[in-house]
Amino acid sequence: MSTQIQASARDIDGPLLELEDVTTHFKTPRGVVRAVDGVSFSLDRGKALGIVGESGSGKTILSRSIMGLLPPRGTIRGGSIKFEGREIGNLDRKAMRSVWGKEMAMIFQDPMTSLNPVMKIGRQIAEPLQIHLGMTKQNALATAERLLQDVRIPEAKRRLEQYPHEMSGGMRQRVMIAIALACGPTALFADEPTTALDVTVQAQILDLLGEQRRDRNMSLVLVTHDLGVVAGHTDEIAVMYGGKLVEKASTKGLFANMKMPYTEALLNSIPKLEDRSHTRLNAIAGRPPDLVNPPKGCRFAPRCPYAVDKCVNEEPPLIATAEDPNHLYACWYPVGSEGYHEAKVRIAASKHATDALAATSAAGGN
């Protein structure tokens, strides 16, 4: 079964995935929702990329845009998505079928609803093997058993005959991974793969994904809201906010030298085990912007503690840091800059003033 991709000359040396100015907008009764708004980046073969952001940041829509898994009606797509040098951004669903499974595969957050409840596990794994790789049923089932062993499911043979409801959430997510890996994809997209799972099982699943990526020299795109999850399991991180890419760097570079106040705020909002109990958490005030009418300047400005007039009025470009050309950020006054420190001093002063005022009024009340 030679596919279009195999027939065309593969661009083996270049990056696996190249996005340029990708936009995904949805027409709704309220207006056009600018869910993904001009995102560009590239991903190399065998690398793991984490896409991080809150709900509504566009991270899921971006990964679905790349996979071509968006409803055709009401979706406005723009920009270019190249996979192995070939444009796939404009392909329709029928054409994407040759890409799904063998080139790109995806696993989802909820392992319960993404499996067919009335089909045995074995058949669900064997199906793509028969369709995409043209295997016989017998071969496909034998391969399915091997895949279940790969994803560390005990008693693989017996499991082939089971239905999804007979398995735990963690086991079902392993089955999803087995299905995604079945046709040997070059890139695997995992959208919040561990959010519905216990911490112990989350650690197991993340390790499993990392191990399979190395064994198969596969690229992995890990979409999550938890910086803790991506820290130990990715090479690069892209932070999204309000449909835009706001920071991108190597994982080590990002954690060592965060530039966007949003990335910093996201990290600081995670409760830390080292802190005493009842330590006040640093929540990010407010909510992500309405993407029908996004703020005209920096989209994070309304929630950013350091924002000044310029941030509200002018959109910051995505630029590289002085030290590292691969570390990109979009902020007028990045963490560590002079403007950032000035803002910190200003905030401290106003907080001091409020406290003093509160103290005076309290004293007045007595």
Binding site: S55, V201, H225, T251, L266
Partner: protein
Amino acid sequence: MAGTGKAHLRDSPDVLLRIEDLVVEFPVGRTGLKVNAVSGISLDVLKGETLGLVGESGCGKSTTGRAIMQLPRPTSGSVQFEGKELTAMQGDAMREARTRMQMIFQDPISSLNPRRKVRQIVMEPLNIWKRGTDAERAKKVDGILEEVGIDPVRAGESQPHQFSGGQCQRISIARSLVLDPSLIICDEPVSALDVSVQAQVLNLLEDLKAEYGLTLIFIAHDLAVVKNISDRVAVMYLGKICEVAPSDMLYEQPAHHYTSVLLNSIPVPDPEVAVTKTAIEGEPPSPVLPPPGCRFNPRCPAAQDICRSEEPQLRAVGEGHFVACHFPTITPVELTSR
């Protein structure tokens, strides 16, 4: 893990809730087998305290929360709340008692009636109990909505689907507060929320607890979250209690091997910290046929013969720190006084 024993229960006049030998079992079809969801646990909560309940899926933490509410009634054991025995309570007395304890659930959107206006949802408990005049009810509801950060005017016009997940959780919290309860059982209240919103809701719960003098039972699987909000934490495994300790102590010196496993599984947001190998293999066994002896023995790195035959009892290993393990990582101490 065993967790029978009551060494950790306190003799204090401030005990708001005291559970003893709580057992919850569910029949498995007509097989005659049963799911041992909760197998004889004892716990107490003091007034104004926050008790965290942690464990993996299926450990019985949510069932415990529900059994306290008598939803459904426990198979056996006693639940004393504000000095009254709930398990024997019937009819109106039970309904009345439930106004004093409220619950917040994991999925904020599906726990609100999708067809009603948010302000109506929050006011409903007051209407049912005919508390105050219409004007008083309106004032109370608006006050609480303001308190949790929801605009009462918008709440009067909008339905739950017009709010985000974090806002819906705030609405659930407002609803749980209108009847002035003394105890709120929070069942995974922030698991479905983003980290940034999770921090907002946790801060809100802390503020409200201080303001209304609430006592909380906080059920979650994320230990970092539980540590942040709790004064005391009970770790559960397969229907039993493994370890009970003041929050900070549990994290500084976990005595049970299972607690260590849970702590080591939390992803650290720092790439410089070497990713430890999977802390534990496998998943908890079925609660239909739990392993004999310590229920954690099949997955425990330190298990020996005695763990497979004899169930460990809760023993003190420090001030207010109790563990049910034959070979805890901290040497048990003699109980001098309780």
